[in-house]
């Protein structure tokens, strides 16, 4: 039987963005990262329709985490206290494309560290590595509004990806990211309508749509991945059919979400197989699933999972 030709084509295109500013561009980055640009769904269309190669941003926490499983902490055991060394390790040993500094330590319910600490961490990581950075707040609106503008200023002109802005908390970070020349992460709680609204709100403040990356919250394997998948898919189809307010590249937080799953992090569970393999597999499976829905940037944590996903990306793209 002849296999029918099913190569659909679309009229729209996902926006292409380049993170990181080199010396020539007024920054200090040694390299840049370009993502987005898809003209078709993953696996669809011709070679020319493909997006830029998706990239992996490895998480570096501003403060030593106290709730990581031993399996996850093991590869970083000598650097968990030093974000700069941690970032260096991710680039030099684990092949990260970029670094995401996650400022968990500023959260009032955690270490509640101040802006001076966050700025110092940012400056340290900027010096330690030459790749573009993602600067991700702690999720507490009040504290993020206090600290993240200072973090933004410390990386002014470096074309970082900074976030997150939400429907009910977007003004201060949008204004400062505009002034400092950064890209923004627009966050929505697995809600396509709110996702679009956040983009419109930022755009209304004069922030260019070409500098927004969409974050629809992430569900890990077994914990709502199918919701993330469908929303990302719907957003991608809207982008490909011409909705400019939905045409942003997409970022997923796979590392944090995967390692929240008990199937990933529990160690004393003999019937579940080797914990040293199980956790990274959980993370890799989540990442590969979401890549097929069109994710452009994936935040990850375990080097073994990173290696598997990088191999997958290199085979497909």
């Amino acid at each position: 039987m002849q296999v029918p030709e099913i190569a659909d084509s679309f009229t729209g295109q996902v926006i292409k963005i380049t993170l990181g500013a080199t010396k020539a561009d007024g920054g200090t980055r040694a390299s840049t990262v370009t993502v987005g640009g898809a003209r078709n769904v993953t696996y669809g269309g011709t070679i020319e329709d493909r997006s830029e190669k998706p990239v992996i941003a490895m998480d570096v926490l501003d403060t030593k985490p106290d709730d990581w499983s031993d399996v996850l902490a093991e590869p970083y055991k000598d650097v968990l206290d030093s974000p700069a060394d941690w970032a260096k390790k991710c680039i030099e040993e684990f092949g990260a494309d970029l670094i995401c500094i996650k400022f968990d330590g500023i959260h009032p319910d955690k270490a509640s560290k101040d802006a001076a600490h966050a700025v110092k961490v940012t400056e340290g990581v900027l010096k330690a590595v030459g790749v573009p950075l993602i600067l991700w707040g702690c999720g507490n609106d009040e504290k993020d509004n206090e600290v993240m503008p200072k973090v933004s200023g410390a990386a002014k002109g470096e074309k970082c990806l900074i976030g997150t802005i939400k429907e009910d908390n977007y003004k201060s970070l949008t204004a400062i990211a505009l002034a400092d020349g950064h890209f923004l992460i627009g966050e929505a709680p697995l809600d396509i309508n709110i996702g679009k609204q956040v983009n419109i709100l930022a755009s209304d403040m004069g922030f260019p749509l070409e500098r927004i990356v969409a974050f629809q919250s992430t569900g890990a394997l077994g914990y709502g991945m199918e919701y993330s998948y469908s929303i990302q898919e719907r957003q991608r189809l809207a982008a490909l059919t011409g909705d400019k307010m939905m045409a942003m590249p997409v970022i997923c937080d796979v590392g944090y979400e995967s390692w929240r799953a008990k199937e990933a992090k529990q160690i004393d569970t003999p019937g579940w197989g080797d914990a040293a393999e199980r956790g990274p597999m959980w993370e890799a499976a989540t990442a590969i699933g979401l890549l097929q829905a069109g994710a452009d940037i994936i935040r990850m944590r375990h080097p073994k999972a990173v290696a598997v996903v990088k191999d997958f990306i290199n085979k497909i793209w």
């Binding site: 679309f10 679009k196 469908s230 898919e233 719907r234 909705d243 939905m246």
Partner: protein, 291 residues
């Protein structure tokens, strides 16, 4: 999850949000007529920019009847607009020579519509062929508005409208002209004309059939303001008919984009038909031209 190829409109390769052809640059309007007489580019250019900002997809250009040199006036209008604005144009004339004159200077890179041709005329059986040839020559983004009208005039009933539309579509296919480059206009008549009140219903019924003439379907357009010609509550009549027609497959209209109430109806209809993903600012997105 959305299954590709189902009845869900989001699965189409291209979601056709409303294609609005802005009607104001027309010599029938006093300010435009005066600007043509005075060769005052600024009036025309302002209208072009403002209609674009209001959400126009195309700008209609009609020299009206006052100008002695219609061909020269068409060229002057096209050039004046192109100096300030990249919005694609819709060359509007009943005379083939006037459209041909416009074609000599128009930039069809971003799109173009030739407005309009009937299936055939008493004195020109080949008029549709000529339009198709002109569009082919103008480039891959040049489209045609074809009226459901032939040498016998404008049909009043549903079946004749559909029959003429079918002939138009099959002629285009014969000549290898993509049906998606056709805008079928079922001809809206003023509702106030005696005995014309049956026509809006007829047009909707005709549209139900025209959209199945090819796959993908030809576009459908109407000269919207015609329906309220001479009536009171013109804006209300226009926008209610527009909402009705959009639900029957209308995906384009020659309309007054400055009518904010009308634009809100367009945005809401597109949203209700799932052609736009809902957001709390759905009206703003539409009128802001960020479609």
């Amino acid at each position: 999850m959305i299954a590709l190829g189902g009845a869900d409109p989001t699965s189409r390769k291209e979601i056709i949000t409303m294609i609005l052809i802005a009607e104001r640059i027309n010599g029938m309007f006093k300010d435009v007529k005066q600007a043509i007489a005075d060769k005052n580019k600024k009036v025309i250019q302002d209208l072009a920019k403002k209609q674009t900002e209001a959400g126009a997809t195309y700008l209609d250009i009609n020299v009206g009847t006052a100008a002695a040199d219609q061909e020269g006036t068409m060229q002057w209008l096209v050039e004046a607009i192109q100096e300030t604005c990249a919005t694609p144009l819709c060359l509007d004339s009943q005379k083939l020579d006037v459209i041909a004159a416009g074609l000599k200077v128009v930039n069809a890179e971003n799109g173009l519509i030739l407005n309009s041709t009937p299936l055939n005329k008493r004195d020109d059986d080949e008029i549709l062929d000529k339009f198709i040839e002109m569009a082919e020559k103008a480039g891959p983004k040049a489209n045609i508005i074809a009226l459901t009208m032939d040498k016998n005039g404008v049909p009043q009933d549903v079946d004749s409208r559909v029959a003429i539309a079918a002939e138009i579509v099959s002629k285009a296919m014969e000549k290898g002209f993509d049906a998606q480059r056709l805008f079928i206009d079922p001809i809206v008549l003023p509702v106030k004309v005696p005995n014309a009140q049956v026509q809006p219903g007829n047009i909707l019924s005709a549209m139900d059939q025209i959209k199945f003439l090819s796959d993908p379907a030809p576009h459908m357009t109407v000269g919207l303001s015609n329906i309220s010609q001479g009536a009171t509550e013109r804006s209300l009549i226009n926008r209610v008919f527009l909402a009705m027609a959009m639900s029957h497959g209308l995906d384009s209209a020659i309309a007054d984009v400055f009518d904010q109430d009308l634009m809100n109806v367009v945005a809401t209809s597109d949203m209700l038909m799932n052609k736009q993903i809902y957001s709390d600012s759905f009206l703003k997105v539409y009128a802001g031209g960020a479609r």
